[in-house]
């Protein structure tokens, strides 16, 4: 592993509109968790806070907990309440 390892964040629906992008790239570091990512995102986009109350998280297309420890090249998604069908 090297210092340029990254993870990708995918954003949808309200979150995509608030952030203004559907994807963000973050630097990875050893021991990085989704909880930490959430905090970092909230510092940059405080408008996300109400959305984050009912948020679900996914790592590489599977639901996961925010304590999840991440690996380089992981794809993380913050999933607002779904409303398909």
């Amino acid at each position: 592993m090297n210092n340029t390892s990254t993870i990708t964040i995918r954003l949808f629906a309200t979150l995509r509109e608030i952030v203004g992008q559907d994807q963000l790239t973050f630097l990875w570091h050893d021991g990085l968790t989704i909880a930490e990512l959430k905090q970092t995102l909230l510092q940059t986009y405080p408008e996300l806070e109400p959305q984050f109350k009912a948020i679900m998280m996914a790592r590489n297309c599977s639901y996961c907990k925010e304590a999840q420890v991440l690996q380089p090249d992981d794809e993380i998604a913050f999933i607002p309440p779904v409303s398909g069908g």
Binding site: R10, F12, A13, T14, R16, A54, A58, C61, S62, Y63, A77, I79, P80, P81, V82, S83, G84, G85
Partner: protein, 155 residues
């Protein structure tokens, strides 16, 4: 305008599954025909369409957005769960994405089985669960000019 489409298809001697997310109109007749099988005496098609009034508010149109790769994975898991609970042969699910007009189909689910109780139960289970866990979002454009990402509890 380019219409995107994401698909997954699997088939073996126990049956088949087909999952499709598409910006093109849903052809539910083709989907229902594709689950027919001489070993099955029953098939059920569910169609979810854009309704005009929800809680007294008038809808003009909807826009659906999906996390494609994960939505297909999650629908796949739900079909596997349905297969464990019921004796179903073929399952086909199409979810429309992008802008939809009133009356258009947002989702179509077709299931076939030797006996009818399995098709009914599996189709209803799949629709109920898709609404709970599959990362697809609906934005409502209302006649009063407002636009909102719909939350499940607002339905």
């Amino acid at each position: 305008m380019k219409k995107t489409s994401h698909q997954k298809f699997e088939s073996d001697e126990s049956g088949s599954l087909r999952i499709e997310l598409t910006e093109s109109p849903v052809d539910h007749n083709e989907l229902m025909n594709s689950v027919q099988d001489h070993s099955c005496g029953a098939s059920v098609l569910f169609l979810g369409t854009v309704r005009e009034f929800t809680n007294g508010k008038q809808t003009n149109s909807l826009t659906y957005e999906a996390y494609h790769e994960m939505a297909i994975n999650e629908i796949h898991k739900l079909i596997e769960q349905a297969r464990q609970q019921w004796n179903v042969k073929h399952v086909g699910i199409i979810h429309r994405l992008g802008p939809l007009a009133l009356g258009e189909s947002a989702v179509a689910i077709a299931v076939s089985s030797p006996h009818r109780a399995d098709s009914f139960a599996a189709a209803q289970f799949l629709m109920d669960e898709i609404k709970k866990s599959v990362p697809i979002w609906k934005q409502e454009h209302r006649s009063d000019g407002s636009t909102e990402w719909v939350h499940p509890e607002q339905k």
